[in-house]
Amino acid sequence: MLKTLMVAEFTDEQQLFGAVKGARQKEISIYDAYTPFAVHGLDEAMGIKRSRLPIVCFLACALGCLLAMWLQIWTSSIDWPINVGGKPFNSFPAFIPVAFEITVLLGGLITVGVFFARSRLYWGKKPELFVEGTTNDRFVIALEVADARIPRDAMIQLLKDCGAISIGYSEVEK
């Protein structure tokens, strides 16, 4: 199943902001916007829900911390307790540095992994580019045509008003 998108191209992030605001006003669902850099406030303007990555990170860190503590305490005082310099088998304070490192390591790696998975990014993926130069100096908005409550002409007009230098259609898999 294919979905039709209306793709407009701008040269300035302010114009894109205008288009986003306009589309939201007209209740046109925005498929996505594409910018060469992170334009501050654009995500809010588009009404993107705040990512839950911090929660993922917290859980990953907690997992790392527990895993590291368990590994250290289990190996040093349960699986094979060995007298090292007369110190107690469970030398808890000495286990903090490694636990901290594993916390950070797992926290970081798992969060990054989840980010890749959630954003569908993987090595060798073919990029989905509607307009050439999106990664250079073009600011692009893709609107979903099918859901729109206003006619296409009005949509085109809206985009033109905002300063679009080109407008086209594109089809993506649903």
Partner: protein, 455 residues
């Protein structure tokens, strides 16, 4: 885009540039022909690297005895170099992570190169704990993995083991952070370059990045998370490195002051190295408009501050030794300042305390040549700091019968040279292969301080 410059903020990028120009200028080295200077530098760096490789090969094939160590001084240049490189490796992550958290926008033009420097420095650093082992081919024994020895695990009480975890974590997280930062720029490069293999390489590595705002949203949060993780990591890594010494019983090592002292020292040496590199790079790669004098000045201020922190730590060490009335501790510090290695101590004091004081003057802080010279002094001084801590404490400890002197052999010197070779080889390849300034970030601050009134 108006040209009016703000009275309060200096622009972070100089001159009138549009986005496409920025892309073009920063990606220019990727496809342009390397300059003669680059080739010259690369050949020298590679020869140094080859020398280092030969030294390491020879040492592993023959035995640690080819170094100048002895029964009393069991660590000297090896661990000095290790701490030196780890210290240098701290600036990158610090610039990226802490300055990101503090929303210091001036970091944008230097963070990429600084992070790259971190990674290469950590590689150089990690080499030393590996080759300093008597049997480096068994280095994997430091990892706790199930084995047929009934499972014999590892000693989690050993600071050296903490080091293993700290350095590996630091390397992996720094690499990840760096790579995450590179993805949008790799996408830009993918869409910009013409050469087929570069297209394919950047295409593969950029993971199909298309600048989607949904991704940018998560991406920004991820960067903040990683910055948040990396900041305590930086502090923990050098604290742990310092614990190699601080938890030992040897007078001159056994000091609770070490963790903050080492972290300050690491920032100090890291910024010095960033300065040395950036001043050359901006000149050679014609990036003066991106890495501006303002950047240099900001870094100089950090240098001055951390330099004084380090100086304060030196004094505190002496005070503690005197105040503790511990005869061994006192002796170590008297010996440091007046013993056979006094020249190393005073070199350290001169380079790390005296020289940076000239940075109080703005004229100095804005003169790249002077900054370069100062940064080199600091680099030397910080190397000597580690040498002084490690060697002078070991060479005369508790029982005078075992007191001994240490002097390096050509193998140690060659290995140290080799790490510089490795570092610069990597760095030179980096500036030819990857965008050395973060495009995405520089574009977002392009109008900063120019009164254009963007968000």
């Amino acid at each position: 885009m108006s040209g009016a410059t703000s009275k309060f903020r200096k622009p972070l990028v100089e001159g009138e540039k549009n986005y496409s120009q920025v892309t073009h200028e920063i990606l220019a080295p990727l496809e342009g022909k390397p300059t003669r200077g680059w080739y010259g530098a690369f050949v020298i760096a590679f020869i140094a690297f080859a020398i280092g490789f030969a030294m390491v090969w020879y040492q592993i094939a023959t035995g640690i005895g080819v170094w100048g160590l002895n029964k009393t001084v069991g660590w000297a240049w090896d661990i000095t170099n290790f701490v030196f490189w780890v210290g240098i490796g701290h600036a990158g992550t610090l610039i990226s992570a802490i300055l990101l958290l503090f929303r210091q926008k001036w970091r944008t033009s230097i963070n990429r190169a600084a992070e790259a420097m971190t990674i290469f420095a950590v590689i150089c650093a990690a080499l030393f704990p590996l080759i300093h082992m008597g049997r480096p081919w068994l280095a994997y024994w430091v990892f706790p993995y199930p084995n047929t020895r009934g499972t014999l695990w590892v000693n989690f009480r050993s600071p050296l083991l903490w080091d293993v975890f700290a350095i590996s974590t630091y390397f992996i997280i720094s690499l990840t952070f760096w790579y995450i930062g590179l993805i949008p720029d790799l996408a830009t490069a993918r869409d910009k370059v013409k050469t087929a293999w570069r297209c394919r390489l950047y295409g593969f590595l950029s993971m199909g990045w298309n600048g989607s705002t949904r991704c940018w949203h998560r991406y920004e949060i991820l960067c903040l998370i990683l910055a948040g993780l990396a900041t305590p990591l930086v502090v923990s890594v050098h604290s742990i490195v310092s614990m190699d010494f601080a938890t030992a019983v040897i007078p001159g090592w056994h000091t609770t002051l070490f963790p903050p002292y080492f972290v300050a020292g690491a920032v100090f040496s890291g910024f010095a190295m960033v300065l040395s590199l950036m001043i050359i790079t901006r000149k050679v790669m014609a990036m003066e408009s991106y890495i501006t004098v303002n950047h240099l000045e900001a870094m100089c201020k950090v240098l001055l501050l951390t330099g004084m922190m380090v100086g304060f730590a030196y004094m505190t060490e002496f005070f503690t030794a005197w105040y503790s009335a511990n005869p061994y501790e006192r002796f170590v510090f008297i010996n440091r300042a007046t013993g056979p290695y006094a020249w190393a101590f005073w070199t350290m004091v001169f380079c790390n305390i005296a020289v940076p004081q000239v940075l109080w003057f703005k004229a100095v802080r804005t003169n790249p040549t002077l900054i370069f010279i100062i940064s080199i002094f600091v680099n030397i001084g910080m190397w000597f700091e580690r040498f002084v801590i490690i060697t002078t404490s070991l060479h005369r400890d508790f029982l005078p019968s075992s007191w001994a002197m240490y002097s390096p052999t050509w193998v140690e010197k060659g290995t140290f040279l080799g790490t510089f070779g490795l570092f610069f080889t990597c760095f030179l390849l980096f500036i030819r292969l990857l965008p050395m300034i973060s495009l995405g970030e520089i574009k977002s601050v392009l109008h900063f301080g120019k009164g254009a009134g963007h968000a």
